[in-house]
């Protein structure tokens, strides 16, 4: 823990300096709530408030997407990023949603947080990019079971599969929390809100939910950074990553190893690209 406290101290020091010398306009980080085992995203605008920044095992929320809310981008945005956030940031850069020079990245190597589901399959504990690094890099633990759950799911018969997902989407309440929190969902206007065009019906029934869920996982499938935020925020605790990882798995098998958001110039999203030598199953 002391390790972590040191980091927290260092984080606050660095944050204070950044605000002091006006490198950044404000800093997005984690702050205390009245629950000891909860933190909440905070926006620190002044050096004196730097001490409000927290760094502990309860810093669970993904922060990357908050940078999108700043439409004016008057000043650089400082933001605390763990491995998952850093990949999300890269994602946003690749999708032209932010410019690298508009953000100042405070890297925080992360041993995994209280949310075991979110952090369970974390393959990148260290930020893959950062401007400043707090604390020391930590050892990465290679993930062996990245697609284990998916493989199990695949083993089911098609009826079982259907039954399973039907069960899932019966529960869904289409609150769109998964979409709103997702760093990959950067569309100006989500298909799911375009009732006029007819991508998505208003009715609340499992098919519409399913249509939403499936389409969403197809939309994020080739770009998902596996931060697990969607699952974390789902009020109905739906196994959303189980849906998302399926496409990742297929991509890995069909088009070679692929992890999104590992660098600023990632290869084009699988669906925005092609290769003459791709496998052909439609002959």
């Amino acid at each position: 823990m002391s390790q972590v406290n040191e980091m927290q101290a260092q984080l606050r020091k660095v944050a204070a300096e950044l605000l002091e010398n006006d490198t950044v306009g404000y800093i997005i980080g984690w702050g205390a709530t009245r629950f000891p085992d909860r933190t909440t995203p905070v926006f620190i605008h002044e050096a004196k408030d730097a001490d409000k920044l927290m760094w502990n095992e309860y810093c669970v929320n993904g922060l990357a997407k908050y940078v999108l809310d700043d439409k004016i981008k008057a000043k650089k945005i400082g933001i605390c990023i763990r491995g998952c956030d850093s990949r999300a940031i890269n994602r946003l850069i690749i999708d032209n949603q932010i410019k690298r020079e508009n953000v100042y990245l405070i890297g925080l190597p992360c041993e995994g947080k209280a949310d075991k589901i979110k952090c369970g399959k974390c393959a990148h504990k260290n930020p893959v990019i950062h401007d400043v690094l707090i604390g020391d890099l930590v050892a990465e633990t290679p993930v062996t079971d990245r697609f284990k759950a998916v493989e199990d799911q695949e083993k089911l018969t098609s009826d079982e599969k259907h039954a399973y997902w039907k069960g899932v989407y019966d529960k869904c309440i289409r609150c769109f929390a998964c979409r709103n929190v997702c760093p990959v969902c950067s569309c100006k206007e989500c298909f799911a809100d375009q009732y006029r065009v007819g991508w998505q019906g208003k009715q609340n029934n499992s098919t519409e939910n399913w249509n939403y869920g499936l389409t969403r996982s197809y939309h994020v499938g080739d770009r998902c950074v596996e931060c697990g935020e969607c699952e974390r925020v789902c009020p109905m605790d739906l196994p959303l990553m189980l849906q998302n990882r399926k496409m990742l798995k297929d991509i890995n098998e069909l088009f070679g190893d692929y992890e999104c958001g590992l660098s600023e110039e990632d290869r084009a999203p699988i669906l925005g690209d092609y290769d003459l030598s791709d496998r052909d199953e439609f002959m």
Binding site: S158, K166, N211, G221, L271, Y274, D278
Partner: protein
């Protein structure tokens, strides 16, 4: 029992204007026969087909969907069908993963000269789908009923 006899599947075929649709026309020209239950939707290029169309079709009660285009390398628009290939390889797997029988959604390359291949494909697919029976998965009966209700009957 008798119901099943009556039942004809609804099969949607997206065809690119330059190859498969031409192939279908050629089939017609040669008076080749295939089941009535396939209906073609003409698009300029198979890459125009948004996978969400397929979901939509199943929701609305389609029993089988097929996407057809030029053979890789012959695309009228140079590279469209390469995108098609990737999109639907993934979509097909995703649907299967969600419990939709792979036979219900397929993709095929059929060139403008392959009238016979077009016919054979249609015959085969419709046989397969028919064998599978009506699609219940990923389908909202309510829509179908509603729709039929809305249809002015005579």
């Amino acid at each position: 029992m008798s119901v099943i006899k009556e039942w004809e599947p609804k099969i949607l075929v997206f065809t690119c204007n330059w190859c498969t649709y031409t192939g279908a026309d050629l089939a017609g020209l040669n008076r080749m026969k295939y089941p009535e239950n396939v209906r073609l939707v003409r698009v300029p290029c198979s890459s125009r087909v948004n996978p969400q169309f397929i979901l939509r079709a199943f929701m609305k009660g389609c029993d089988g969907v097929l996407v057809c285009g030029c053979h890789p390398g012959d695309c009228h628009y140079v590279s469209g069908n390469y995108f098609t290939r990737r999109r639907f390889m993934l979509m097909q797997r995703l649907l299967e993963y969600n419990g939709v029988d792979p036979a219900r959604f397929q993709a095929r390359w059929i060139s403008g000269s392959e009238a016979a291949k077009f016919r054979d494909t249609m015959i085969r697919v419709s046989k397969e789908i028919k064998a599978l029976g009506p699609n219940t998965k990923f389908r909202e009966d309510w829509y179908v009923k509603e729709a039929i209700a809305n249809e002015p009957s005579k």
